[in-house]
Amino acid sequence: MLPLRRGRTVSPPPAALAAFLFFLSASPLHALQEHGPTDSLVLHQGAHLLFLAAMGLLVLRLRQRGLVRHPGWRKIQLAALFFVLWNAAAFFAHLLDEQWGIVATVRLAPAWVRIEAGAFGEILAPLYYLARLDHLLCVPAMAFLYAGLRDLRRRPEAAFPGEEEP
């Protein structure tokens, strides 16, 4: 009993008492979620999909606005397409080897690698090999982006709103 005023006492309600006892009882900590090694992989894959979607949307917008008539934006559109392909390839490779774990690589000698893909090895192994050569997609993407920006710089007329040719 807790003294409130002189000569008078009050008792705590049963529900409050029960809550107090629950928090004092021994149980696993629920405040923070645990993260396994797949969390970062899921996040990374999600980022690839987001990047892929963003690039796809950019291609769509450029075409909707008719900007691809300008060589600069046309090359940037190509860059975005290559980034879409690159994201798809990277996503595919991560899916096979890390997320699903159905493809593994083994170094045989300094110059050789064996790709193990289980039952679907004949199809998945060449695809996986090609997907691991993803720089063949992102480097052209960057090259097209550079070429596009250079064209925008050289011919800004009709490339930016308000800079139409007189």
Binding site: L57, L149, G162
Partner: protein
């Protein structure tokens, strides 16, 4: 499936290096694009996309190169420790890059709107500039027109021959034109001195301004009010004044604009016309009277001469008859003069060298009439051509004027005869000047009246100037008189060189 390792390695490392190089090339180009128009939202956007790409490329390439290096070095454990961080950074940059790219549409729209607004602003500015130019042109035209108008009105004010005054309601002079300054101050330069002076100081009758002020207060204007202004030399000048009230006089409060017109000349002309009318009436009357008297006088003279034949010279009756004859002759001379004054006959038209005529008169006058102490001077304008006049009558006029001059100077003085050629009018002027006693103002209007004389009784008939007036008028000319009592007189005969017009009558 066994595949060669080197293509994977070469593409991974070479591609990573190429990505770094290309991403920084992109960043450089985007930087140039942004610098070309730092206010373009789209260019700023592209710059930040390239920044993200460069960061991503750098992070990813570094990870890939490190992986290949560590795997080749057999340090898979080290790569296993490094890998989560590299992957996390790559993921973050992915997400950021994707998020930024998703904003392309919004950035484009915003850029379009900014461009539209900028274009609208540019057009509005161009229109404003055009409107401003038009306004400036209109203002310039207006200012020039205003300046021209102001200059024009100022010139009217300055060159007006009549005095123009701007007064405040109390009658203080605010502005006065050169003609006014000349009249009231003696010269155009007196304008500054006259500003601030009360007009009443220059009025012969100070109460006149009160009357004008009251009339202006009542009606807003006065018109053709006769005033007498006191000139700088003290002489009173009759003027016809018109004044109007101006309630908004350039911010200086109400003002009165007054224009005064000199009517002295008009008055003189009116007096001359009245005198001419009077003389014409007198002439007609005189002619009638003279004609009626002349016949009886002729009869009296005839019978007197008949009676004289019957009387012995030296007898008392002979002397009485002689006295009668003498007075009758005198009466006849007067009557003849009266007839000369009033006669309507045209003068003879003969070409005369006026200077030779004047010299003959002067010679005769010098020999017979001028005393020894009277100096005779002449000043001839030799440009005067031969003139068409009745020489005898003009000689009579000149002799009359010279005789009057001799009387005016008394025993001693100077008489000058001056000729001038008035080329524009085709007239000549012969002035007889003396420095004698002059003519009283009260006598001036009567000097051409028949029988008006200031000479003692018996010394003159009072017909000399009347006769001269009649002769000159019949020549189509006029006689002008200027006289200042005590200073002398100038009688100027103005004659047309070509003779009297046929229709001219006295």
């Amino acid at each position: 499936m066994t595949v060669p390792f080197w293509p994977l390695f070469a593409v991974d490392v070479g591609g990573s290096l190429a990505m770094i190089a290309l991403s920084f090339l992109c960043l450089g180009t985007a930087t140039h694009l942004r610098r070309a128009d730092p206010e373009s939202l789209l260019r700023i956007y592209l710059f930040w996309v390239c920044v993200g790409l460069a960061g991503f490329s750098l992070s990813r390439a570094a990870g890939h190169i490190a992986r290949q290096g560590l795997l080749l070095a057999g340090r898979e454990d080290l790569w296993a420790a490094l890998r989560p961080y590299s992957s996390a950074v790559n993921t973050l940059l992915f997400v950021a890059l994707a998020a930024v790219t998703l904003f392309f549409e919004r950035v484009w729209k915003a850029t379009e709107r900014i461009a539209r607004d900028r274009l609208a602003l540019r057009r509005a500015r161009a229109e404003l500039l055009e409107v401003n130019r038009e306004l400036e042109r209109l203002a310039g035209d207006r200012a020039r027109a205003l300046a021209f108008s102001e200059r024009q009105y100022r010139r009217i004010f300055e060159v007006a021959r009549d005095p123009i005054l701007v007064l405040d309601p109390e009658g203080t002079i605010r502005e006065i034109n050169p003609a006014g300054a000349k009249l009231l101050g003696g010269g155009e330069e007196a304008a500054d001195r006259l500003r601030g002076a009360p007009l009443v100081r220059f009025l012969a009758r100070p109460g006149a301004w009160r009357e004008i002020g009251a009339a202006i207060e009542r009606r807003g204007f006065v018109q053709n009010v006769e005033l007498e202004l006191r000139r700088a030399d003290g002489v009173l000048l009759p003027v016809l004044a018109s004044a109007v009230r101006d309630r908004e006089s350039g911010g200086e409060g109400a003002a009165v604009h007054l224009i005064a017109r000199d009517i002295e000349e008009r008055r003189r002309l009116q007096e001359q016309m009245a005198q001419a009318d009077r003389l014409a009436s007198i002439g007609q009357l005189s002619a009638g009277v003279a004609h009626e008297i002349n016949n009886p006088l002729g009869v009296i003279l005839g019978y007197t001469q008949l009676l004289l034949r019957g009387e012995a010279p030296g007898s008392e009756r002979h002397r009485d008859l002689k006295t009668i004859e003498k007075h009758v002759r005198h009466c006849k001379a007067i009557v003849e003069d009266l007839l000369k004054f009033a006669r309507r006959s045209e003068p003879k038209q003969e070409k005369v060298d006026i200077h030779r005529t004047i010299e003959e008169v002067l010679h005769f006058f010098g020999q017979n009439a001028a005393g020894g102490r009277i100096r005779l001077e002449s000043d001839f304008d030799r440009r005067i051509p031969e003139v068409v006049v009745d020489e005898k009558k003009i000689k009579q006029v000149l002799l009359n004027l010279l005789m009057n001059a001799r009387h005016a100077v008394g025993g001693e003085g100077t008489i000058r005869v001056v000729t001038r050629w008035l080329e524009e009018e085709g007239k000549l002027a012969v002035a007889v000047e003396d420095d004698g006693c002059g003519i009283e103002d009260k006598d001036l209007p009567h000097i051409f009246d028949p029988f008006f004389t200031t000479k003692p009784t018996g010394e003159g008939t009072g017909l000399g100037l009347s006769v001269s007036y009649g002769i000159v008028r019949r020549h189509g000319g006029e006689i002008r008189v200027e006289s200042r009592p005590g200073k002398g007189s100038v009688f100027t005969v103005v004659l047309p060189a070509a003779g009297a017009p046929p229709e001219e009558e006295t």
